[in-house]
């Protein structure tokens, strides 16, 4: 088992290495002539007006919260799905009940209007 993870570890090192090498190669080859005009932030050819890092919109956060419900509970569903073939019918029904609870959360969020884009 551990041996298999060694391969994954080696691959991760290689995967990290590859883009670093490419960017490093570009760093060696590229011209370096910075100037202040060039390094302006792009906003369609004009200087940006006002702060960019602002409190943008909370709605994205609400979607992230709804996602969290599902993501955490999906983690519990994975073991259930894995042993599904050995489960008796009532255990499967219990799983379905659990999913129904998830669906209830979705319906609640839907009713609350959290899924409407404002």
């Amino acid at each position: 088992m551990l041996e298999q993870f060694i391969f994954v570890g080696v691959l991760l090192v290689v995967a990290l290495f590859l883009p670093v090498v490419l960017i490093g190669l570009a760093w060696l080859l590229r011209p370096k002539r910075p100037n202040p005009r060039k390094s302006e932030i792009y906003e369609c050819g004009l200087q940006p007006h006002g702060e960019n890092w602002v409190q943008f919109k909370a709605q994205y956060y609400i979607f992230a919260l709804v996602f969290l419900i599902f993501d955490v509970e999906a983690v519990f569903l994975f073991p259930w799905a894995l042993v599904y073939n050995w489960l008796p019918l009532y255990a499967v029904l219990e799983g379905v009940l659990f999913i129904a609870l998830l669906a209830a959360a979705l319906v609640y969020a839907w009713q609350k209007g959290a899924l409407e884009w404002m």
Partner: protein, 416 residues
């Protein structure tokens, strides 16, 4: 004659045999086993890491060529400047161009995430290939949590996009980054639930096991699941109907607007790599991976089947990329939360119950074909039910619109 048959036998499982030959060579050179296996793993890792890179180089060319032909153009070709037959060297020329482009560092950026993001985007998409089964004996590492590992790494893209967009100090990039939060995490749920259905039916998280279970490709057993997975994956790789993070005509370039040179190239590469990985994953989960005729005799054919299936999915991806308009953010989210997630939940429950029901109903066991047939019928049922509900909603909406329009017309008449 004998040498020919030996050669053919070698060819039948060429990649594995080459591996064995190298291992023999290393052992012959007097190295001891842990080191040999480590070197073998390093070689394997290099091969696995370069595989998507090579596929992408070809894919970019193919994408341009297919797009050009669909739009009545020629695309890259060797007239004018020499780019090889059919312009196949165009991608290499572009790579060289990107290597020699100046790296413009904009003012006021957050340096660490800004520089880390282009590295991580390629890192995450290469990492998913570790557990992808290329052939019967050809897999980087057949982890017992294979599919879980892939899902984990594919959702890393979200963090990368957020890093790139937020650190760029650009309003367009910020909008792109926020959209990535809403879109990528949203579509992860149906993707996850579709994978759960597959895991439930095949009974394993191990990739080779999932392939092994598909005597009949799961596409023909669970078409609705395949459909959900496909749509969610299109959104996860930021493909055209859900291409909201880049949205060239609105956000110019989205989250990687401030990148130039090779760093831009990394995002470009990452995008194509992710598409390739998703195509490979779909081929593995629903099209039977390397399974196909004569794989028993010549395991190398398994790799060919796998590549063909992956190519088919990539072709589908290209067609959609070239011909579909983009959705708006509210439509994209509504489609996910109000259609795809409920459908995926219902699908999971129904398939779970029916599949268990089959086992309970036939205590003596049941043939694969019967089970597949019943599952297919169930899928048709789910499809018809969904269709009915959607049609009813559409009719209601139509009526509402008509009454509204009638009211408008009435108003105009009154004012006239």
């Amino acid at each position: 004659m004998e040498s020919l048959s030996r050669f053919l036998a070698f060819l039948a499982d060429a990649i594995v045999n080459i591996g064995d030959w190298i291992r023999g060579l290393l052992l012959g050179a007097g190295l001891v086993d842990p080191w040999v296996s480590l070197i073998m793993k390093a070689i394997g890792a290099l091969v696995v890491a370069f595989f998507p890179l090579m596929v992408v180089v070809f894919l970019i060319w193919a994408y341009r060529k297919v797009a050009a032909r669909m739009q009545g153009r020629l695309g890259p070709n060797s007239s004018g400047t020499w780019a090889g037959p059919y312009g196949i060297l165009q991608t290499f020329a572009d790579a060289i161009k990107m290597l020699t482009k100046e790296d413009i560092r904009p003012q006021g950026i957050d340096l660490i995430p800004y520089n880390l993001a282009p590295i991580l985007v390629v890192f995450a998409s290469i990492a998913t290939w570790a557990v992808m089964p290329f052939g019967p004996r050809l897999i980087g590492s057949d982890l017992n949590i294979g599919i879980f590992y892939i899902l984990a790494f594919s959702s890393a893209a979200l963090v990368v996009f957020l890093m790139a967009g937020w650190s760029s100090n650009n309003k367009y990039a910020t909008v792109g980054a926020f959209r990535s939060v809403a879109q990528l995490i949203g579509y992860e749920i149906p993707q996850l639930l579709a994978v759960l259905t597959v895991v439930m039916v095949t009974g394993s998280l191990r990739m080779q096991e999932i392939v092994g279970q598909q005597e009949i490709p799961l596409l023909f057993q669970l078409p609705v699941t395949a459909f959900i997975f496909f749509l969610a994956s299109m959104a996860e790789v930021n493909a055209r109907p859900f291409e909201l993070l880049e949205a060239e005509s609105e956000l110019v370039c989205g989250y990687f607007i401030e990148y130039s040179g090779m760093k831009f190239g990394m995002f470009y590469l990452g995008e194509f790599m992710n598409s390739t990985a998703v195509a490979a994953l779909f081929a593995t989960l629903f099209l039977g991976g390397w399974r196909g005729p004569w794989v028993e005799q010549a395991p190398i054919l398994g790799t060919v089947w796998f590549l063909l299936k992956m190519g088919l999915m990539l072709l589908l991806w290209m067609f959609i990329q070239i011909t579909f308009p983009r959705l708006r953010i509210d439509q994209m989210l509504a489609f996910n939360w109000k259609f795809l997630v409920p459908l995926a939940l219902a699908n999971l429950c129904v398939i779970g119950l029916v599949n268990k029901g089959i086992t309970e109903w036939f205590p003596g066991g049941v043939s694969t074909w019967t089970r597949a047939g019943i599952l297919l019928m169930t899928n048709v049922g789910i499809f018809l039910a969904t269709w009915g509900i959607l049609a009813a909603l559409e009719r209601r909406e139509q009526r509402r619109r008509e009454t509204w329009r009638a009211a408008q017309v009435g108003e105009v008449e009154v004012s006239a």
